[in-house]
């Protein structure tokens, strides 16, 4: 992905998800594959509202929470987003994505 283009991410409307302890449990609506997201990935996924660009999510939510270089965090975030998109649990676009989901609930 070219760095001068914005990447927008949104949670897929067909997934199942719930917080369980410190991890997010996500099931793909496409093929029922089950994933767990670690705390960093969970922050990114929760923030994927379709309206906030990925670089802003990384800057405001990841870099403030974890000791990580912004360029490293951005590279990891792009890789994670593309991986999640391949499994149908995240939508990626160069334009804002309509109809963001409500935040996911669950027990911590």
């Amino acid at each position: 992905m070219e760095t001068n283009k914005k990447m927008y991410v949104a949670r897929s409307p067909r997934i199942a998800a719930r917080m369980l302890g410190e991890e997010m449990l996500v099931m793909s609506g496409h093929d029922s594959t089950l994933f767990t997201l670690n705390p960093t990935a969970t922050i990114l996924w929760q923030a994927a509202d379709g309206a906030t660009p990925l670089d802003e999510i990384v800057e405001r939510r990841i870099c403030t929470e974890f000791e990580v270089k912004p360029e490293d965090a951005m590279r990891d975030a792009e890789e994670l987003a593309e991986n999640l998109a391949q499994h149908g649990i995240l939508l990626i676009s160069e334009q804002p994505i309509a109809k963001p989901d409500a935040p996911v609930q669950g027990q911590r």
């Binding site: 719930r18 917080m19 099931m27 609506g29 029922s32 089950l34 669950g106």
Partner: protein, 378 residues
């Protein structure tokens, strides 16, 4: 179950989270199955608003796997409104239905709403047998048509084959039908008592010889020799094990808001119309009691050879009168599988044995002499 799902279930147990729940939306039904355990009259179902509020509470409490069942769920006019609410709350949604009311449009909508699986009751591949059980002519034809609609939308369909005296010979045919339709297949050879305690339908259970035959059918059990092998003696780990997930990570809510550990465990723990879901889950004395039970606490079962391998259902035990006692239906299955009677079956046999015609016993001395004698007692 995937290893990850098992791991998440174990974590939910450690965290005290109700990982899965079944919510029956109605007990009304458009079939009248001969073995059904429900009273189909409407005694005051929860409203749409009540159900939506309950779903929010369940999501907040951590419920991930949510099964909508009944009765027939498609009889509720607000079914898709409820389903949309559940979708917005990101549950993993499973449905149990007879599918008679599912046509192309409904199947497409279920796909759009990301339903994880649809389980459909099929009793036989022969219309005359299936329809005799549901008491609705044409019901098999309609259910099969629905399965085709659902499969054409790419949905996962599970054909659930409950076995009883009337269809015991047909499970090969149902399995073949499932393969033909691209559906998964599951069978259940247990007819449970009605929720009000009426046990008359239990007589529909297939007998021991039919179970024995089923348990030696390698198409269903894999290696029959292994499946039917004598059980290993229970060890310390199995003595401390939990009977099942009911009340530990799973629960059941009736259409009237009653909260039970499981659909087969009618021990009322509260009502979601009066209390919050999480408050019942955390504070119910009944649930605390259910959670306290381990194999070593069970009368009979703790001394039984089948202790480590038995499929004992605590709900069926409860319906027999003692949640710390045996579930005879499972004792019978263990016996049919291994040929070894359970402690419970041996006790029942002894109790049922006809009285001996002559018993020999000591009678008390009748004189000042230390005289003892032999008396015949009828």
């Amino acid at each position: 179950m995937s290893a990850l799902l098992q791991e998440m279930g174990d974590r939910a147990l450690r965290l005290g989270v109700p990982f899965s729940a079944q919510l029956d939306l109605t007990y009304r039904c458009n079939e009248q199955c001969v073995h059904c355990y429900l009273d189909h009259d409407d005694h005051g179902e929860m409203t749409t608003v009540e159900i939506k509020n309950l779903l929010k509470e369940m999501a907040e409490a951590g419920v991930f796997i949510l099964t909508f069942s009944g009765g027939e769920i498609f009889l509720r006019k607000d079914f898709f409104e409820i389903l949309e609410c559940a979708r917005d709350l990101t549950f993993c949604i499973k449905l149990k239905t007879n599918a008679v009311l599912i046509r192309e449009a409904q199947a497409a909508r279920l796909r759009d709403l990301g339903v994880q699986s649809v389980q459909i009751s099929i009793y036989s591949h022969r219309p005359e047998v299936h329809d005799a059980i549901t008491k609705v002519k044409g019901s098999l034809r309609r259910s099969i048509a629905a399965i085709r609609f659902l499969k054409s939308q790419g949905l996962k369909v599970i054909m659930a084959n409950v076995l009883m005296t009337g269809n015991m010979q047909d499970y090969h045919g149902v399995r073949a039908l499932a393969e033909e339709l691209g559906a998964e297949y599951t069978l259940d050879p247990t007819i449970t008592p009605m929720m009000d305690g009426d046990r008359s339908i239990v007589d529909l259970n297939a007998g021991e010889s039919a179970l024995r035959e089923l348990f030696r059918d390698e198409m269903f059990v894999g290696n029959a020799e292994e499946f039917c092998a004598p059980p290993p003696p229970p060890d310390a780990e199995s003595m401390s094990s939990l009977p099942c997930s009911a009340g530990h990570t799973a629960c059941y809510i009736s259409p009237y808001g009653e909260f039970y550990p499981c659909v087969q465990f009618p021990l009322s723990c509260g009502n979601v119309r009066q209390q919050r879901f999480i408050d019942i889950w955390r504070d119910s004395e009944q649930l605390k009691e259910v959670r306290s039970i381990r194999l070593k606490d069970l009368s009979g079962c703790s001394q039984c050879a089948h202790g480590s391998t038995c499929t004992r259902c605590p709900g069926l035990a409860f319906m027999e009168g003692n949640m710390r006692g045996p579930s005879t239906a499972d004792c019978e299955k263990s016996f049919a599988r291994t040929g070894i009677p359970s402690v419970n079956l041996l006790a029942k046999k002894e109790k049922a044995a006809p009285p001996r015609l002559v018993q020999i016993q000591l009678v008390p001395a009748i004189t000042g002499n230390r005289l003892s004698g032999i008396g015949a007692v009828a």
